[in-house]
């Protein structure tokens, strides 16, 4: 089966996948719109401020004189990119550490897990804030993404390690060892497919987590406020006491979009998981018929 057909069938026959895909596509479409924004994203007072949602400004305008819709397109693009970069980087690290540690065992495992545990126990938030002070204006979102990724892999690495450990004792691994496959090959060819479903679902969680970090840091003002992000929008709305001033659309729409993204990713993850994981596919057919 080629990939396209799998997707087509999933879309046609799996409601969760269809809804998930639709939601993610909407979010992506909004992000893509950012390239057609009529206003430079950083400019303020380009439209009249505080206009509620209307025909002219479908999502209203902010107290900074920005169009919420166009601002949102750039914000979601940056936030999404941030989440993806963090997730991708930290997945690579946690996969490497988890698989090697679980497969090699012994002192390699002990050393790697000591490092791993150190990252689990080091309090993330103060470190991020301190880094903000160290990096100062070099603390762009890309930098923040790298640092967040460096601090955000440890927990999942442990998860992957435990799976790799159980795989190591299985029959096919022994066979592979006897047939003289190299460690790298075994890990990549034999173990990775078993680990992928878990990677998939942790990726979703990680994207969500990193967006949360971004928003928290922004709300406290510990990010580069020049780059529009979802957290940045909330930051500015907050600076203008938008909630008590009744400028609800400034906060509601970014939040809605984040919810859509999250639910979309969640549905995609569970439906894809069902497709990838042979066990749950079997259980759909009711065990052995």
């Amino acid at each position: 089966m080629n990939t396209f057909r799998i997707f087509r069938d999933l879309f046609r026959y799996n409601g969760e996948f269809a809804i998930g895909l639709m939601l993610v596509l909407i979010v992506l479409a909004v992000a893509a719109c950012s390239f057609f924004s009529p206003y430079p994203p950083m400019d303020v007072y380009v439209v009249p401020p505080d206009v509620p949602p209307s025909w002219e400004y479908p999502l209203g305008t902010t107290s900074r004189g920005q169009d919420v819709f166009w601002q949102l397109t750039v914000a979601i693009r940056n936030t999404l990119l941030f989440g993806i970069v963090v997730a991708a980087l930290s997945r690579v690290i946690s996969l490497l550490v988890g698989l090697i540690s679980g497969y090699k065992g012994g002192w390699v495992d002990r050393v790697l897990m000591s490092i791993n545990d150190t990252f689990v126990v080091v309090p993330l938030f103060p470190i991020l804030v301190l880094f903000y002070f160290i990096m100062r204006d070099q603390m762009t979102w890309a930098m923040l993404a790298v640092i967040t990724a460096l601090l955000g892999w440890a927990y999942d690495a442990r998860l992957i390690r435990s799976i790799a450990m159980s795989l190591r004792t299985r029959e096919f691994t022994r066979q592979a060892v006897f047939s003289g496959m190299s460690t790298g090959k075994i890990v990549l060819q034999e173990h990775l497919p078993f680990v992928l479903p878990i990677v998939f679902s942790t990726t979703m969680n990680n994207i969500n987590w990193s967006i949360g970090i971004e928003v928290t840091l922004s709300v406290l003002g510990f990010t580069d406020i020049n780059t529009p992000t979802i957290g940045g929008m909330i930051y500015w709305a907050n600076q203008h006491t938008a909630l008590v001033s009744g400028i609800w659309w400034w906060i509601t729409f970014p939040v809605l979009l984040v919810i859509m993204l999250f639910i979309g990713l969640f549905l995609l993850a569970i439906s894809m998981n069902e497709y990838i994981d042979p066990r749950s596919r079997l259980s759909r057919l009711g065990g052995q018929a």
């Binding site: 204006d137 406020i225 008590v244």
Partner: protein, 630 residues
């Protein structure tokens, strides 16, 4: 399943139970006898520490320096209860000898500490000597540098012998925002080490004494002394509120909510939008200006500060060009939603300053001319305030004043007209070139400017900076804001680690024309070498022989000498010519007062005090406040 039902019932019950509990009721402290004010310090990390004479150990604006402490003199940033100058613990103004090497203070008798001990010259002598002896104490250095000896040769008189002439020595004991507060000798001499003594509970010299405070640092409650007549405030009559609570009300939105719920009588500062919400929703709101812009202009002057040691900004034409690129109307809108009081000169347009400086200089400003190399331009536009008022009138309606005098008071006395043409000519004169849409420096590099803003801690200035950067960028300069959150700002500002910066290096008394409060530190003798730490407040690191001459002249004349105003105007003109900072506006503080429980707050119509509740002289408010409810 049963569990779910149980949960629902339990939640319902819990909510019902709390409904009954939610009324704020403080036992023994009746709400109608209490004024609740915001302490902008927030939560006090170390709440039980009242020793304000150590550096930065506990809370200061918890009511401690407003209501409990006292010192020799006060200068009100507005008109004052009985004039700008107030002799507080001192019976009269400071008496200097001819060469300013000796200052004599006559003290007021009959003032008592809250534990019944009389305040005497010994307390003043002790305050000075203890601090000199302990270099870690807060005013130790200032006193050690100035004071040769202090003594009380006759009753109620204290004589300071100074190490060198200083015509402004009394300012150390004169409250603008704060000053050197008197220490109770009889308490501190019992402490083993005055630097490690927490002074808890504090003994007051003011009209209020401590009632209770939150061990977690969220609130302090002060109670009116029974013997309030025996304090310096006593001569103005009985203070209205029996209790004064200084609290940490949380982020801006919550301050608005708290005031709408009548749980916070005085909001120190909020975002303009919060103030607009209050004007719409709170019928009991009182503000400094009854109409737009509502806020109280503090005698501080936010400006674009150039790092004058940076070669890029050493050319006056470049600085002027950057000033002419600013569309101040847009900046005013972006920062204060139009509620800014503008000033084109290096003096804040507040208190008595307009009468002394802004109005007399109008003519000079109007005729001031700059030479762009190609043309001569008169950049001043006295109608900017009117333009902003006209711009706001459609949305804010009758809240915008119409009387020209009112407009000038609210929106300032004019500013520079944006003039990109002149800016272009000035830049070209300085050797800059425009290629395509971008400007290049004389040595061919892209002309880039970073403007440092404070972010969260000064949202208004951050907004202004963002707007100015946008205007520079639209002109073809590669401009960017740099956020230096709160403390980083302080570090980088003293280190000179910035290109340009929005902050203030000008702070004045407001109610008194003397400028030495900030100006003295601008003397070139204090300018640090690049890379070294610059001391307050000459952040621009500007040295100018002409300025030095003015400062030295000021040092030679006394505080109340008529010539200070003349010299101040010379300074103002010099700043216009040299533009080492681009003065923008007063720092307008959106202090919101609620008249549900109290009336008689200071306003622009009755400007007897600065309403901003963390200023030391906000104590005057207490004697004017009258209960609204029996």
């Amino acid at each position: 399943m049963r569990f779910l039902r149980l949960l629902t019932v339990a939640t319902g019950l819990a909510l019902a139970a709390t409904t009954a509990m939610s009324q704020t009721n403080v036992p023994g402290v009746p709400r109608n006898e209490t004024i609740i004010l915001e302490n902008p310090e927030g939560t006090i990390k170390n709440p039980g520490w009242f020793n304000i004479w150590t550096i930065n150990a506990g809370g200061q604006y918890t009511g401690l320096h407003q209501l409990a402490l006292d010192t020799l003199w006060y200068i009100d940033p507005e008109r004052g209860l009985d004039g700008v100058w107030e002799n507080s613990l001192a019976a009269e103004k400071p008496i200097y000898n001819a060469d300013f090497t000796e200052m004599t203070v006559k003290l007021r008798p009959g003032i008592y500490w809250s534990d019944g001990v009389e305040f005497t010259p010994d307390d003043l002598v002790y305050t000075v000597e203890t601090q000199i002896k302990n270099p870690g104490m807060r005013w130790s250095a200032l006193l050690a540098l100035n004071v040769e000896s202090v003594s009380s040769p006759e009753p109620w008189t204290v004589v300071f012998k100074l190490k060198k002439p200083n015509s402004r020595f009394h300012s150390l004991f004169t409250v603008r925002f704060n000053a050197i507060w008197m220490m109770p000798k009889h308490i501190f001499e019992k402490a083993a080490d005055p630097q490690r003594f927490d002074f808890n509970p504090p003994v007051s010299l003011g009209a209020y004494k401590i009632h209770s405070f939150d061990p977690d640092g969220k609130w302090y409650i002060w109670q009116k002394r029974d013997d309030w007549q025996r304090t310096t405030l006593g001569r103005y009559g009985e203070p209205g509120p029996k209790f004064a609570a200084y609290i940490d009300p949380g982020p801006p939105d919550k301050r608005v909510i708290a005031q709408l719920n009548h749980n916070l009588d005085v909001v120190h500062d909020i975002a303009p939008e919060g103030m607009f919400t209050l004007t719409k929703q709170s019928p009991s709101l009182k503000t400094w200006f009854p109409n737009f812009p509502f806020a109280h202009p503090d005698p501080t002057l936010p400006s674009v500060i150039f790092n004058m040691q940076n070669p890029a900004f050493q050319n006056r034409d470049v600085r002027w060009a950057l000033a002419l690129l600013i569309d101040i109307k847009a900046v005013s809108m972006a920062s204060y939603r139009g509620a800014a009081t503008l000033s084109p000169i290096g003096i804040p347009p507040t208190g008595t300053h307009p009468d002394d400086y802004h109005i007399p200089l109008q003519e000079w400003l109007a005729s001031y001319e700059i030479d762009t190399g190609k043309s001569k331009v008169k950049p001043y536009d006295p109608t900017i305030g009117n333009q902003i008022a006209d711009m706001l009138r459609p949305t804010m309606k009758e809240q915008i004043p119409t009387d020209p005098a009112e407009i000038r008071k609210a929106f300032g006395y004019g500013w520079w007209k944006p003039n990109p043409q002149a800016a272009t000519e000035l830049l070209e004169k300085a050797g800059y070139t425009k290629r395509g849409n971008a400007w290049y420096t004389p040595d061919g590099k892209p002309f880039s400017i970073k403007l440092m803003v404070e972010g969260d801690s000064r949202p208004i200035l951050t907004r202004a900076g963002t707007m100015i950067v946008q205007q520079w960028r639209q002109f073809g300069i590669d401009a960017k804001t740099e956020v230096a959150q709160g403390t980083t700002m302080l570090d980088r500002r003293i280190a000179g680690d910035f290109e340009t910066l929005i902050s203030w290096s000008v702070e004045t008394y407001g109610g008194h024309p003397d400028l030495s409060f900030f100006l003295d530190s601008w003397h070139s003798q204090f300018v640090a070498a690049p890379g070294k730490t610059q001391s307050p407040r000459n952040w621009q690191r500007w040295s100018n022989p002409e300025l030095d001459k003015i400062i030295e002249e000021v040092r030679r004349i006394s505080f109340d000498d008529k010539r200070t105003v003349e010299l101040g105007r010379d300074y103002a003109k010099l700043i216009v010519r040299e533009m080492p900072i681009i003065p923008l506006m007063a720092y307008n503080v959106f202090t919101a007062m609620d008249e549900t429980y109290w009336t008689g707050y200071p306003t622009s119509e009755n400007p007897y005090a600065n309403p901003v509740p963390n200023w030391g002289n906000s104590r005057s408010m207490m004697v004017k406040l009258k209960p609204k409810q029996p």
